[in-house]
Each structure stands twice: as C-alpha cells, then as structure tokens.
C-alpha cells in the first residue's frame, strides 16, 4: 500500500514532466505524460485525489459537461475554494491523468481544495474506480454518439455503473427520462444521497423542442412529483430565473437558452451539496454572471470589429437547442461538419426552420450539411472544405448589418477556427 505522499513519486512525476516536454516539442497530444506516470506509479491518481479536503466531483452527461464544470468551478472559487479542473474536452482517462499530474508537486501533492472533473461516460466507471469521487452530477441523457454507443440505453447502463462507484451523493436532472428512473433506483438502494435539479413543466412546454432528451421505452411508469433543489422557472434568451430555497432569483446568463439555465441549476445544486451551510446563493449568482462562456459554447469572438458567435454542433440536441435560442434568423452563417461526427444521419431529425440560408459550408463532411439544406430547398452558398479558407471567406464577405456572424462548428473545426482567428489560449490550458 503506497502512502499518500512521499519521495517515491519524485521519479515518476519527473518522468511525466520530461514526457510532456518532449511531446510538446514534437507538437503532440497531452495524453502521453499521464500514460508514463501511471505506468511508473499506478496508485498515484487515487493518492493525489484522496488528499483534497472537498474530494473529487464528477460532471457527467451527454451535453453541457464543459459548461457545467466551468460554472461549478466559478461558484466554488467565489466561495474561496481552490479548484482543480480538467481542460474542457480532456475527459478521457489519460487526458485527465495528464491534467492532474501537471498540477501535482514532485512529492505527489496538489495545491487545491476540490477537483471538479468533466468525465466521458464511456470511461466514467474506470476513472471513478481510480479517483473515488464523493459526488457527481448527471446533466442529461440525449441521443448522442450512436455511432459509438449503439443506443441511449447503453449510456444509461454506463451511468448506472459510474453511480455505483460514487461514495456519497449524486445530483440528477429530474426531468430527464432515463435519469428520473436512475434516481428512483438509487433512492430505493439508499446508499447515496440523491438530489434533483430541473425546470418547471411550463418552462419545458414553452421550449420549442423541450430539452431533446432521449426516450426510455422500457416501462411507462410515471415518476411521482419530485422537488428540485434548484428549478428553472424562466429561460428567455440570456435571462433566466431560478427558484432556490423558496425564493426566485434573476440571472443574466453568459449564454442563451433553457439548456444553459438548466446547467446553472445543476451547478447550484451540486455546489450546495458540497459546501453545505457555506453555500451562499448570491455569491453563486455573482459567479455565474461574471464567468466567461467555455470556448466554442456560445462564445463570442471579436474579429476586426465584427462579432463571431460560435455554437457547438455535437448532436441533435446541441444543434436544436442552439437554433431554438437564436435571437431571430441569423444573417451570416457558417456551418462546418467534420470526421469526428461519424454518422450525420441525425441531421434529418433537426428542425432547421430557424435558418433561412447558410453562407458557407465547410469541413470534411460539409456535403452532408449541404444535402440536408438542399432537401429543404434552402440556399447553402458555397462549400469550402478547408475551415480556415471558409472562415476567411465569411470575414471577406459583406459585413452583417447585425454586426455578428454565426458559426455552427464541430469540435475540431471550432478549435481550428479559434486558432485561425488568433485565440491561442487553449494550448496554454492543456498539459
């Protein structure tokens, strides 16, 4: 049994640092250092995590992981905690290991009070066995990555497996089909403290396509009315109202939409669970209102006096909700689709009535987007597979009278676009 700290970690961590230095010189990825250190010191992750006074928190769900991790971290920091978090998107085992080790001293200590980690559902159970998280939030279960998971029911199984590794409490989306059922199971089991966040039935009914949750067809049993710790009672553009402990609070959100408001409710519920009496709702609201959006998730870039809004295009739910909460018909639109989205079939399930045209289509699979628009009889402008050329074409085109271009981008295309537009801060974050 290894001790929590000690000199025996000096060599493995040094080896990891050397690996990081070498992979960076070669322009390589951030996963390799984690691989090296874990080979040399298999229990290092558990030992580092176990020293954190507030433990490890997992943020899970099909969509909204990065946003909620960012919001929750901001709320915790506003309460004076030192937060360690993984760079957005680095949510698989080696990426997390690398991120943790980059922040760990040579003797295996981390200068933080809490680790808030967004976790990929496919690897969640394995990571949980290593890190023993005290608490977790599951945001939603959407039709997502069918190419990888086969069907949403498989993802429900994965969440079940992760929940089994959580040691203290779990926070769930009350209004999600699959998660409501998982909540019933966990309540019956009685091992974990189970709490919920949600949105009122009125707010959900008013959303053009609701939360676009996946449907659970296994049995039709209705879940009894449950109280949500934090409940969205209004979501209108950037403005939300959240009901908390009997009062309703106004919140000006960093980005638009019901999905963003629900992520805030999730962050409040989990923050309060972890902070107990120290949780202060006004501090939490201040944190949310002053936080910046995660890159590429409703982020607005300033480029030569024109705004470029980047909306992520990950699956049906992310596209639909981002369309639903646009302010009017976007005037100048770039739409890019790349190889990381293996199967674009879901595009046909999207309601594109919010768009009346697209100016430029890009990415290696852009033709699938063009085809979707062609079947709808909508003009898709030009197809420029190279994303940087496509972005430049948008910037060289007429200046939109609204002063804003709207870009729907896949993850890889988003990264390339930000880099091209001179936003190079991402590289600094990842170890």
């Amino acid at each position: 049994m290894s001790k929590p700290t000690g000199l025996h970690y000096v060599l493995p961590i040094l080896a990891g640092r050397v690996t990081r230095f070498v992979t960076r010189l070669r322009g390589g990825g951030s996963a390799m250092p984690g691989v090296v250190v874990q080979k040399l010191a298999p229990h290092i992750m558990r030992d580092v995590a176990s020293q954190l006074p507030y433990g490890v928190v997992f943020v899970l769900g099909s969509n909204g992981k990065s946003t909620t991790t960012n919001l929750l971290s901001a709320v915790m920091r506003e309460h004076g905690l030192r937060v360690f978090t993984n760079p957005s998107g680095a949510n698989m085992p080696q990426g997390i290991a690398s991120a943790i080790l980059a922040e760990t001293s040579l003797t295996g200590r981390m200068n933080a009070d809490i680790a808030i980690l967004e976790i990929d559902e496919g690897y969640g159970a394995a990571i949980a066995r290593q890190l023993k998280p005290a608490s977790a939030v599951i945001l939603n279960l959407l039709v997502d990555q069918i190419y990888r998971f086969g069907e949403p029911d498989k993802v429900a199984q994965m969440f079940r497996g992760i929940a089994a590794e959580i040691t203290s409490s779990i926070v769930l989306n009350r209004d999600d089909n699959f998660l409501g059922k998982l909540g019933s199971e966990l309540e019956a089991e009685g091992r974990l403290n189970v709490e919920y966040f949600g949105a009122t039935a009125e707010v959900q009914a008013a959303a053009p396509h609701g939360q676009v949750s996946a449907r659970d067809f296994t049995d039709a049993q209705t879940v009894n009315f449950r109280t949500a710790v934090a409940e969205v009672v209004r979501a209108d553009g950037y403005d939300a109202q959240i009901s908390w402990a009997g009062d309703v609070y106004d919140i000006r959100m960093p980005s638009r939409g019901l999905h963003y408001a629900v992520d805030i409710a999730a962050a409040f519920t989990l923050a309060a669970r972890n902070l107990g009496d120290k949780f202060d709702i006004t501090r939490a609201i201040t944190a949310v209102q002053t936080t910046k959006t995660v890159y590429g998730r409703g982020e607005i870039l300033q480029v030569n006096g024109v705004e470029v809004e980047i909306l992520m295009l990950k699956n049906l739910a992310s596209l639909q909700l981002n369309l639903d909460y646009l302010e009017g018909t976007p005037e100048s639109v770039l739409f890019a689709y790349d190889e990381s989205s293996k199967d674009p079939s879901w595009l046909y399930a999207a309601d594109l009535s919010k768009l009346d045209h697209v100016n430029v289509i890009s990415g290696p699979k852009g033709a699938f987007v063009a085809l979707r628009l062609a079947y709808e009889g909508k003009d898709f402008g030009v197809i420029e597979p190279d994303i940087t050329k496509a972005v430049q074409r948008m910037l060289d085109g007429p200046r939109p009278t609204s002063g804003r271009h709207t870009f729907f981008l896949d993850y890889d295309q988003m990264m390339a676009t930000r880099r091209y537009l001179g936003y190079k801060d991402l590289e600094a974050g990842a170890a």
Partner: protein
Amino acid sequence: MTISVLELYPAHLSLNGDVGNRTALVRRMRLAGLDVSEHAYHPGDELPAAPDIVTIGTGTSSAQRSLASDIARIAPLLTEWSEAGVVIFAAGAGFHLLSASVRFGSDEVIPGAGVFAGSVDASRPRIITEAFAVESDLGLLIGTENHTSVFVGRPDQKPLGRVRHGVGNGDGTDGAVTGNSFGTHLHGPALVLNPRLADDLITRATSRAGVDYVPNAEHTSLDKTVDLARSILLAKVPATAQKS
C-alpha cells in the same frame, strides 16, 4: 390525385434521423409537381387508410419491444397493403419488425408483422459500418449500418442486394424485397443518399396511383449535392471491396 406517405412510429423509430427517408420521397415528388400528403402513425392510433408509400425506421431494442403489441395489432393491415402493392420502405429495426420474428435473447422473441419472410436474431454483437455499400439492381447503394442482428430470409425471397462492404443480413446479402416492399440495414435516411432507389419507389407508387413521375432539372441539381455526400462515403469503401 394526391400521393400519401405514411411514416410508422416516428416517435419510437427515429434513432438515426429516419424521417429523412420521408423527406427524400416527399421532396422529390413535390419537385416533380406532384401533390403529396404526409401522415404519421403512432401506437394505438386509429388504423390509417391505405397510403401510397409507407416508411418505417430504426430504433432501440427497448423501443422495438414496446411496439410488439401494436405491431401485432396492425400486422394484418400491413401484410394486406404489401400484398396489394403498397410501396413499403423499411430500414433497420423497421425492417426487423416487418419480418416474421425478432429475437432479443435466448428466451425472448417477439412476432413481427410478417411482410418479409424471414426471422431476425437481434442479440448479436453490434455491427457498425460507416460506409455500408450494397450492390443492387439500382446501382451501388451507400449508407451506414448500425445493428446487432442477423437476418435469415426464405431462400426464394430476393434480397435488396449483395454487400460490397459491411455485413447486412450476415450472409453476404442485405435486406429483402417482396413485391413493392423493401427492407434494408441501410439505416437512417438511406433514401437521401440513394436517389435511384428513391425514384424507383416513387415510380412504383405513382404508377399504381395512375400518376406520372418525371424528374426534372431540379432533381439533377439536387443530385449533384447527393453525389458530393455519396463520394465521401464511397471513398471509405476499402479498395479490396471495390474490386470484387
């Protein structure tokens, strides 16, 4: 004369944007100047009048199980339509539910509607082929397959085609054809990528209805974009498969 298109169980069988099949058929007919009406059938609905074209798409195993009793209820109607020559296009789970039976486990089998002669074992390891390619009488069909099944059809029933890349039924063929009913593992919006198949289905339906379907320049223009999307998948069919 209005051509009616009926989508079965769109709330249950829509895992892969399957409504795209309806979109493709309806769009092509409207571009040719035909009157088209679109309908949906959900479990427990009043039994619909015979349409000209039926589509049914892909879904999870839990969705399929939940439809078992309703499939049994409408089975006589569906087989009657099929025998009468109503055009049916069934993809993935929809194809399976219109076969004789679907097996989900060693002791769990649900009866299908019996439009296609053959049975499905849907308890196999998952198969995912991004560029699933099938040689058919209507040229090379391309799309994606994602299922856990083997289909064993009656030997005298024609498959849709021979698999060039992927798995399909599991014996080198894919799908089944009986009269004007077509089943396939080309999932989701197969018809948006395969306009020759879409046009064949439309022609069968419109001839039965006594209407002419004549594609025009709008179709040619649309199909240029189809070719761009098709070429992305065709490039992923391995060269060894290309030769055969």
